[in-house]
C-alpha cells in the first residue's frame, strides 16, 4: 500500500496541484525521478485519477448557485434512472449526487441572476419526473473547498 513518501506527495499535490516536479520533490525531501516513478505507480493503481481545472462560474456571469434537494417517488422502480437521465439534460446543472438518507438526489444548479433562476426552476426543474419533495438551499458563501483528503 501507500508509504510515507506517497502520502507526502499526495498531500503536497492536493495543496498545489500545478507545482513542477522539482518543487514537489524538494518539498517531499525526495528526488524528481523518484517522485515521477511514484506518481506513475499511483496512476497505474488508479489512486491518482488525474487533474482537472476548477471553473469559477461567478466570473463567467453565473452569480447564483443553488442546491436543490429532491426526495423521489420510490414506489416507481424507474424513478431514479428517469430522474437522473432528465437532470443530465439540463444545461445549468453542474453536479449530481445521490444519497442514502432523507434526501435522495441533490443537483447543483447555477443561474445568471434570480430571474434566470426562476425561469430554470419553473421551466426545467419542476418538469423533472418522479419528484415527491423538493427544497432549495441558496449558496451565500463558500468558506472551504479544497476537497482535500486528510492523508
Amino acid at each position: 500500500m501507500l508509504d510515507d513518501l506517497d502520502r507526502r506527495i499526495l498531500r503536497f499535490l492536493q495543496s498545489d496541484p500545478a507545482a513542477p516536479m522539482a518543487e514537489v520533490a524538494e518539498r517531499c525531501q525526495s528526488q524528481p525521478a523518484t517522485v515521477a516513478r511514484r506518481l506513475e505507480r499511483l496512476k497505474a493503481q488508479g489512486i491518482l485519477r488525474g487533474q482537472y481545472a476548477v471553473i469559477d462560474w461567478a466570473v463567467l456571469g453565473y452569480a447564483v448557485e443553488v442546491s436543490l434537494r429532491f426526495t423521489l417517488d420510490k414506489t416507481n422502480a424507474k424513478a431514479f434512472d428517469e430522474f437522473l437521465t432528465a437532470a443530465r439534460e439540463i444545461r445549468q446543472v453542474i453536479a449530481i449526487q445521490t444519497f442514502l438518507g432523507r434526501v435522495d438526489v441533490r443537483l447543483s444548479v447555477i443561474a445568471k441572476d434570480m430571474a434566470d433562476y426562476q425561469k430554470l426552476y419553473r421551466n426545467e426543474i419542476l418538469n423533472l419526473p418522479h419528484i415527491l419533495e423538493l427544497e432549495a438551499l441558496m449558496h451565500v458563501a463558500t468558506l472551504k473547498t479544497a476537497e482535500a483528503l486528510p492523508l
Binding site: L10, Q51, Y52, L100, G101, H139, L149
Partner: protein, 151 residues
C-alpha cells in the same frame, strides 16, 4: 455581453476534464495554434475563470470509504458568533467543504471518514462539539458526477 467565445468554452470544457493537457495538444484539438491557445488560457486564468486545479483521488482506495453531507443549523442564532463557528469548522481536517447557505440549514458540510464508525467519531467529537451547533441532518453520499454545465 460576455468577453468569452465558443473556443474559450471548448477550452474550459477540455481543461475541466483534464487540466494537464498542453497548449499544443489542446490547440490541435480545437484547430488553434499553440501560442493562440496559450494566450486564451492565460486570459482565462487572469480573469479568474480558471480558478486553479484539483487532483482527482480515489478516496475509497486511500481508505476513505464514507462521504457524508451534513446540513447544520445553528442553535442560538445571533448569540453565537458566525465567525467562531466558521473558524472552528473549517479547521476540522475531515471537513472538506463548508458552504454558508440560505434555507432549511445555515451551513452545508462535506465530511470524509474511513468508515461509518469513524464518521460517528467525527460527528460526536468534532461536529457536535462546535460552538452553537443545533440541528444536524446527515446524508451519506452514494454517487457523484460532475457535469460541464452551460459550457
Amino acid at each position: 455581453m460576455t468577453p468569452w467565445d465558443d473556443l474559450d468554452f471548448a477550452l474550459l470544457r477540455a481543461l475541466s476534464q483534464d487540466a494537464t493537457q498542453s497548449a499544443g495538444s489542446l490547440g490541435r484539438f480545437l484547430g488553434l495554434s499553440q501560442p493562440a491557445t496559450w494566450r486564451r488560457i492565460k486570459r482565462l486564468q487572469e480573469a479568474g475563470v480558471l480558478a486553479g486545479r484539483r487532483i482527482d483521488l480515489d478516496a475509497e482506495a486511500l481508505g476513505f470509504g464514507v462521504t457524508v453531507f451534513l446540513g447544520v443549523k445553528l442553535a442560538t442564532k445571533g448569540r453565537v458568533s458566525l465567525e467562531d463557528f466558521e473558524r472552528a469548522v473549517t479547521a476540522i481536517p475531515e471537513v472538506q467543504t463548508v458552504q454558508h447557505v440560505l434555507g432549511l440549514y445555515d451551513y452545508r458540510l462535506r465530511v470524509v471518514a474511513r468508515d461509518i464508525s469513524d464518521f460517528e467519531r467525527v460527528l460526536r467529537r468534532r461536529i457536535m462539539a462546535l460552538p452553537g451547533v443545533g440541528d444536524v441532518e446527515a446524508n451519506v453520499l452514494l454517487s457523484e458526477e460532475r457535469l460541464s454545465g452551460p459550457l
